[in-house]
């Protein structure tokens, strides 16, 4: 099918199938569909939209059909994205399974693992969380100490993870576990899939500056996982973790662009515009314009990286540039949004559902340059791998 035919058919299908409630921008976290065993849909529209899109495999458009995907080419997936954007259609499903685990399983997973886990991710039936960071292993992730000891055909796992986003709401965790105690730092780690209902796995929510508790401490006390749940080979975990991190970074970056947040709209909301619709404060207007310029440059860069990738040039460590610039940009956008809102932005809670959302999402945005590898770590990667500067 030609791309143009595909575009037309896609548009028609979306037109016919995307419920009206899913054609308005998400107002905040609460409007995002994460799926999972315990998921309660925010609305019928949200449920119907997920079901219809999952049916076509379009929650994960480029995954192979046999694993619940849409089997689309990169070009077709791009067209789908454009058409969804054009009608303001929301993403039917967002999850760590889609952004992170899926790509890693597709590359490193066994056939059984793919057949078992990928379709459930695609249909939003199982929600995954990421167990990487530990109290003593943040930027220096490879120093992690959660350990797994082989007992028959099971690993017995003990240790603690931290900052595990949505651990208390997730069904499964993909975790980095030190299984080869004597191996060098980077070679002793395995990538293990663990059911959160396993005895010995527990979580404790942590409250964030945004007032919400989307992440947790996760504890493993003699929790058992079968050896067949190791992805790749034992000891290969670091490679998989790094591969997955590049997808996580890409996810954080695309979030930074599609946020839809706009300080100009904020200025209108707050009544801080003059009779011509110009932002009343000229300096703020200039700051917003400079932000717009940087956002245009960033979006152009995403397009360029895509074109270069199509031509066979690897993205490689350039993903770190995108992560660094995209997240810093998003933080600036939130800051200007707050400035444009003035005192209206300070609202913490109120009668309406969206009251407090501006402040809370502003606070949440601070984490963009921390999660998935901090800005400093990205700069280190660029210095070492792109510029090949000598180590200090």
């Amino acid at each position: 099918m030609s791309l143009e035919t595909f575009r037309k058919e896609t548009r028609d299908w979306l037109e016919a199938n995307c419920p009206p409630g899913m054609r308005v921008p998400a107002k905040g976290e609460a409007d995002i569909c994460w799926g999972g065993r315990n998921w309660t849909f925010a609305s019928d529209d949200q449920r119907i939209w997920l079901e219809r899109m999952a049916e076509r495999g379009w929650t994960v458009p480029t995954w192979p059909k046999e694993y619940g995907g849409g089997g689309l080419s990169k070009e077709e997936a791009f067209v789908l994205k454009e058409e969804m954007k054009a009608m303001k259609a929301r993403s039917p499903l967002d999850s760590f399974g889609i952004w992170m685990l899926g790509p890693a399983l597709l590359k490193y997973g066994s056939e059984e693992q793919k057949r078992e886990h990928l379709p459930k991710i695609a249909r939003g039936e199982i929600r995954w969380c990421q167990g990487y960071s530990e109290p003593g292993a943040g930027s220096d992730l490879a120093s992690l100490r959660t350990k797994g000891v082989l007992d028959g055909d099971e690993y017995v796992i003990n240790g603690q993870k931290v900052w595990t986003s949505y651990a208390d709401k997730s069904d499964w965790i993909f975790a980095l576990v030190r299984t080869e105690a004597d191996a060098p730092k980077h070679l002793g780690i395995s990538f293990i899939l663990i059911d959160m209902e396993t005895p010995g796995v527990s979580t404790k929510p942590i409250k964030l500056i945004s007032g919400k508790s989307p992440f947790c401490e996760t504890f493993f006390d003699d929790a058992r996982a079968p050896v067949s749940n190791v992805v790749g080979k034992p000891g290969q975990g670091w490679d998989i973790a790094k591969y997955l991190l590049s997808h996580e970074r890409a996810g954080i970056v695309s979030d930074a662009v599609s946020g839809g947040l706009n300080p100009v709209g904020a200025a209108h909301l707050a009544g801080e515009v003059d009779e011509n619709g110009q932002i009343a404060d000229p300096i703020l207007r200039g700051d917003v314009a400079r932000l717009t310029i940087d956002a245009l440059a960033f979006e152009s860069t995403l397009r360029r990286v895509k074109d270069e990738a199509d031509k066979g040039e690897g993205v490689g460590a350039k993903a770190s540039i995108l992560k660094y610039v995209g997240t810093e940009l998003n933080k600036r956008r939130h800051e200007l949004n707050m400035s444009a809102l003035g005192s209206d932005g300070l609202l913490w809670e109120g009668e309406k559902e969206e009251d407090g959302e501006a402040a809370r999402s502003w606070l949440r945005s601070r984490a963009n340059s921390i999660e998935g590898g901090t800005s400093e770590i990205q700069l280190n990667i660029v210095a070492k791998r792109v510029l090949e500067l000598p180590g200090s």
Binding site: V264, A267, V273, G277, Q278, I279, R285, G286, V288, A289, R290, T292, I293, D294, L296, A297, F298, S300, T301, R303, R304, K306, D307, E308, K311, K318, I321, Y324, V325, E376, Q378, L379, N380, V382, A383, K384, V386, L387, L389, P390, G391, S392
Partner: protein, 374 residues
């Protein structure tokens, strides 16, 4: 729209790079400066550019050009930015050629475009009358008088003005609407004063006092001269942004090379994280500038009606990034970065001058706000 170079573009870029680094490296620029060259550029080089077809890059084949488009012109300027090569390319082959193309009559095109292509003339483009760029601040007038026109006003810092044979002047007609007139510099009533600038270029100030012009001096080929003028300026902005980008890229490359080799505390200074993060940030910013400059140039070729915001944004970004790259460069060179012997200071100076030309980052931001409706 493609963000990668096709084979033809790649070849053009490669050949420009090797030509310029052989024929017009920074040492050649230094010689022009130290010899006090009265043109501010090399006439021989200008002839070579004509031989290679560069002067006709925006001119249709019927008038002897190769018409490769704005993107290709930008590629050449990017390379000239890398070698700090001064030439009339931007003023004559880009601005004047575009002005004639979009606003000239058939007769004017037939008369002037082949001259541009052959390298036989230098034409300045005179828009600004005040210190900061603003194409709305035009007080120069070109009013009808009999069958001709009479031109009055002043223009400042017209690029390549010292060497120009003619200038295209942005003026207002008797109705106050913008118009473009092509004036021979030897015409009675034209006085010029060459101005040596910080980047060792030689623009000139022009005064027009009751300059009597023939009717055919008026570029009257466009239906909407005001729109044509905006387009000419956007082409100029995107192209000079490409030059700024080249300045930034080369300044960055020599800086990285320097810090890898300079040792202090017994190690290369590039091993210090304080410099590594500055360098990595700089590369990130250069990548952003590169993308938006490409976008602006391509948009001018493919969907010019959408170009204004991209040209303004690209000009702003390239200006800011080239300033950053060159000033950070001086910092990372340390004491030698302050010397005339090292090239990094020359890049800093050109970044500032190219940045001001046709609107700097502040101007571009104002434009973006206006064009975005806030």
């Amino acid at each position: 729209m493609s963000f990668v170079l096709n084979d033809e573009e790649q070849m053009l870029r490669d050949s420009a790079r090797s030509f310029l680094s052989e024929t017009a490296p920074v040492t050649a620029f230094r010689k022009l400066r130290d010899d006090n060259n009265p043109d501010g550029f090399s006439r021989d080089l200008w002839s070579s550019m004509a031989e290679m077809g560069w002067t006709g890059i925006l001119v249709e084949e019927g008038h002897g050009g190769v018409e490769l488009g704005v993107f290709a012109a930008g590629l050449l300027l990017q390379e000239m930015g890398r070698t700090l090569t001064p030439s009339p390319f931007l003023s004559t082959a880009v601005l004047a050629a575009t002005a004639l193309r979009v606003a000239g009559s058939d007769a004017q095109k037939a008369k002037w475009l082949p001259k541009i292509v052959s390298g036989g003339t230098v034409i300045g483009f005179a828009v600004d009358e005040r210190a900061r760029h603003n194409p709305e601040h035009i007080n120069t007038t070109a009013k009808k008088q009999g069958n001709g026109l009479v031109l009055n006003g002043t223009k400042r810092f017209v690029a390549n003005g010292a060497a120009a044979d003619a200038v295209i002047v942005v003026a207002r007609n008797e109705d106050g609407a913008p118009c473009l007139v092509l004036v021979d510099c030897n015409q009675k009533g034209v006085t010029r004063k060459a101005r040596r600038t910080v980047d060792s270029h030689l623009p000139a100030d022009f005064t027009f006092e009751d300059v009597a012009l023939d009717g055919d001096a008026l570029l009257d080929g466009a239906e909407d001269t005001e729109g044509a003028l905006k387009h000419i300026l956007d082409v100029g902005r995107a192209c000079v942004a490409a030059e700024s980008l080249g300045v930034a890229e080369q300044a960055f490359d020599v800086t990285i090379d320097y810090i890898k080799n300079r040792e202090q505390f017994g190690v290369p200074i590039a091993s210090f994280q304080g410099l590594q993060h500055r360098a990595a940030h700089l590369l990130s910013e250069i990548e952003m500038a590169r993308s938006i400059v490409m976008k602006a140039l391509r948009t001018l070729d493919e969907t010019p009606s959408q170009a204004p915001i991209w040209a303004a944004a690209a000009k702003a970004k390239a200006t800011a990034v080239s300033r950053l790259a060159t000033s950070e460069g001086i910092q990372m060179f340390g004491g030698v970065g302050m010397t005339d012997e090292y090239d990094i200071g020359l890049y800093y100076k050109r970044a500032q001058a190219a940045g001001e030309f046709l609107g700097d980052d502040a101007w571009g931001a104002g434009q973006v706000a206006k064009l975005s409706g806030y």
